[in-house]
């Protein structure tokens, strides 16, 4: 079949042979497992267990927080020791919430049941995969269930299975394909059926002939006419999703678009294997293959329970005495870890021991000479030197205009830079600054909205209060006006001699009945209202003479006491 090409890329030393000499070894279950709740893109799962609980292998211990999240499971049976903050395999060395399990050594599974995806709806299958904790195992740990919906059309033209594994030192996918090709293909069949894909292309770099042979044999054994295993030229980063899509189909996914818009979707071989285990075997994602390589005596691939300490894993490969750092991932895209005492997580495809000899410190950074080597090497067709200028000068808006977020941080630009500028470090800095600014801005916008709403509410409340007051006053005014009208009618009709009658007719407070002023009428009305509001005690009326006499006696006693207490004060009335 015809293959295409992507621009740029580099061909570093691969160092893959050492770790492919021996088969995948099963790393023994450790005594303590530290399982971080947040292991994928999206929200942090909610813990479902607390200290003291007994858990079984494969039991869900963290529930996905919304759809943009993925569940977490216990990797072995045992007791939960604590749900607490532990150091994460992250360049910051910061802590996050982890479930710490003390293994009981019995490795007792939950009841495993296969999931018949053919008799369930697509939405149910997606929920099942979310609750089985299946995420992309190529390194990006994007929840797989979110990639399970076909694009704009109802069917996908091409399903791409990514076995390229282009990064130096890493061989976990290579070994997985060599040893478990049938399982991978069974996972691919599920993906093909769910996405209604027209054809399936398995892309493997041509430096892995054994993996290509194993996968081809598995495809033929399964009799899948619509699947093809394709050896692609070895050039870093051929394993990037967009690069592999371009090599296999010739489709270039533009900025801001998804590959599904063009009828293509891409999954890693490890992910396909995890889907097979989750759906056909009923086993959630609790382990993965990890390459341990670099400055170690016995580089090898291990099947590791998630939550195993990296230090314990590294010890099995006998790190050399001059090992001075630990890298999670490969030498191009991996991140340096500040500590060995961190757990293996779903994103851990490789643990690379480093030393000064293996990875000599880069020569000092020199000024950019605008040679353009980085632009030639960039597989995302960006202009890395422009991004560098803008990131360095903190002109983030311009960096975004030059599509900073299309950068896949593959490190080709830094690799070829003759001035040894750590370009990717600048891009990572700029990206995290932009994200921080955006979230700050979102928070400020929310605060502004809340503040304006409060202003609005206060204004409305004040208005309502004023309206209530006005309504009451208006009622009073109306009553007064009526009274006034009655009074004026009386004065105009009657002679001055009849004035006392008019006076009593209006209100006793209005003194000159001949000229009752509106103000006086209002005051009278207000007094009337006030009087009406005054509550008369119920027990002061209809008193018997005895009671009245008693009250009088009490009052007299009171007056006497008052006079004794304050002889200089006038008596109270």
């Amino acid at each position: 079949m015809q293959l295409f090409d992507f621009n740029g890329g580099v061909t570093p030393d691969y160092h893959k042979e050492a770790s492919t000499q021996s088969p995948i070894a099963v790393s023994p279950a450790p005594t303590f497992l530290v399982i971080p709740l947040h292991q994928s893109i999206g929200g942090t799962p909610r813990p479902l267990v607390s200290a003291g609980d007994r858990v079984l292998k494969g039991q869900r211990i963290g529930a996905a927080d919304g759809d943009m999240s993925s569940a977490i499971h216990a990797s072995t049976s045992g007791h939960v020791v604590a749900v607490e903050m532990r150091r994460m395999p992250h360049p910051s060395g910061l802590s996050a919430l982890c479930v710490v399990i003390k293994a009981d050594g019995r490795d007792e599974w939950i009841a495993r049941q296969s999931f018949d995806y053919r008799s369930h709806t697509a939405a149910e299958t997606r929920d099942y995969l979310r609750d089985a904790g299946v995420v992309g195992l190529g390194g990006a740990v994007f929840p797989t269930h979110l990639k399970m919906s076909p694009g704009k059309g109802d069917k996908l033209d091409t399903l791409i299975i990514n076995g390229a594994e282009c990064e130096p030192f890493i061989t976990c996918d290579d070994l997985l394909m060599r040893e478990r090709a049938e399982a991978i293909i069974q996972g691919v069949v599920i993906l093909r059926d769910l996405l209604a894909a027209g054809r399936v292309l398995v892309g493997i770099e041509d430096n892995k002939p054994q993996a290509v042979a194993a996968m081809t044999a598995a495809v033929q054994a399964g009799g899948h006419q619509d699947m093809a295993v394709v050896a692609v030229p070895t050039r870093y980063p051929a394993g990037g999703a967009k690069q592999l899509i371009r090599v296999l189909t010739g489709i270039e996914v533009p900025h801001g678009k998804r590959s599904t818009d063009y009828g293509v979707q891409c999954f890693n071989v490890g992910t396909a294997h995890a889907i097979h285990e989750a759906i056909n075997l009923g086993q959630p994602l609790i382990s993965r293959i990890v390459t341990v390589a670099g400055n170690v005596a016995a580089p090898r691939n291990y099947e590791v329970l998630l939550g195993t300490s990296m230090e314990a894993l590294l010890t099995q490969s006998q790190p050399l005495p001059d090992t001075d750092r630990l890298i999670m991932g490969g030498p191009m895209m991996g991140v340096s870890l500040p500590s060995k005492d961190v757990p293996v997580v779903k994103a851990t495809n490789c643990i690379l021991a480093g030393s000064k000899k293996l990875f000599p410190p880069p020569p000092p950074e020199m000024p950019c000479i605008r040679c353009g080597e980085c632009a030639t090497a960039c597989p995302a067709d960006l202009q890395p030197f422009e991004l560098y200028w803008f990131s360095r000068a903190k002109i983030f808006g311009k960096a975004q205009e030059y599509h900073l977020f299309d950068c896949i941080e593959c490190g080709c630009c830094s690799y070829v830079c003759p001035s040894h500028i750590p370009l990717v470090d600048y891009y990572r800095f700029a990206k995290s600054e932009i994200w921080a600014n955006e979230s700050e801005k979102a928070a400020a916008d929310q605060a502004r909205e809340q503040y304006e709403f409060r202003q609005l509410r206060e204004a409305r409340e004040a208005q309502e209060k004023a309206a209530r007051l006005a309504a009451r006053t208006a009622a009073g005014r109306a009553a007064a006006t009526n009274a006034l009208a009655v009074a004026s009618d009386a004065t105009s009709d009657a002679t001055p001699a009849a004035a006392p009658v008019a006076k009593s007719a209006t209100t006793p407070a209005t003194e000159p009945a001949q000229t009752p002023s509106p103000q006086a009428a209002l005051i009278a009305a207000a007094l009337e209202r006030a009087r009406a509001q005054q509550v008369q005690p119920a027990n002061t009326t209809n008193l018997t003479p005895e009671q009245q006499a008693e009250i009088a006696a009490i009052e007299a006693r009171r007056a006497q006491i008052r006079a004794q207490a304050h002889p200089h004060l006038p008596p109270d009335d």
Partner: protein, 185 residues
């Protein structure tokens, strides 16, 4: 001569009508400068600038009645942005209006809260929930850290807790170039 006058007069009438129409049709509601300044301000609504909120301060700056260095939560970066926008000279944060502090959130000590609702009334962004004689609590994501609730509390049960960095808010640092001494022979 007359024809020329008529033509000019007609032109004046037509153009006048067009301008009059445009003035009504494309009228700008509100002051766009105030909006732009308000977008730079951090929306803490803390009143440290001497105005009752960010919007009034923005309006005062737009009118030239307030200086650009009165917003402590906006900090140095905010002052620089305002100086850029308004074409004014940068000046350091005025000391009488406060000092720049790392962002903190109000946290109510539940043991001490007596449910007096005074903090609820003081919060400019309605980020405190509670009712009379019921315990109050702060909605952390909505708290701007303005500290307005702190002085009104009669039992001093509100503490400002600085926001700690976590995995999701952690930022890659600016690459630092190591400087090494050069030995010359």
């Amino acid at each position: 001569m007359l024809a020329a006058l008529l033509v000019m007069a007609l032109g004046a009438v037509v153009l006048g009508a067009v301008l009059g129409f445009a003035a009504v049709k494309f009228r700008v509601e509100g002051d766009p400068l105030t909006e732009k300044i308000d977008a730079i301000l951090p929306q803490t609504q803390c009143g440290q600038c001497g105005f009752p909120g960010c919007k009034p301060y923005a309006a005062a700056m737009a009118k030239g009645e307030a200086d650009i260095n009165q917003c402590p939560p906006g900090g140095d970066e905010g002052i620089r942005k305002l100086a850029d926008l308004l074409g004014r000279e940068y000046k350091p944060l005025s000391a009488e209006h406060g000092v720049e502090k790392p962002k903190a959130l109000a946290v109510i000590d539940e043991q001490r809260c007596i449910g007096c609702t005074l903090c609820i009334q003081a919060c400019p962004v309605d980020a405190i929930v509670g009712a009379a004689k019921q315990m109050h609590t702060v909605i952390a994501v909505q708290c701007t850290g303005c500290e307005l609730c702190v002085p009104v509390c009669p039992v001093d049960c509100i503490d400002m807790v600085p926001v700690a960095e976590n995995i999701t808010t952690w930022k890659w640092k600016y690459p630092v170039v190591a400087i090494k001494p050069v030995t010359t022979h």
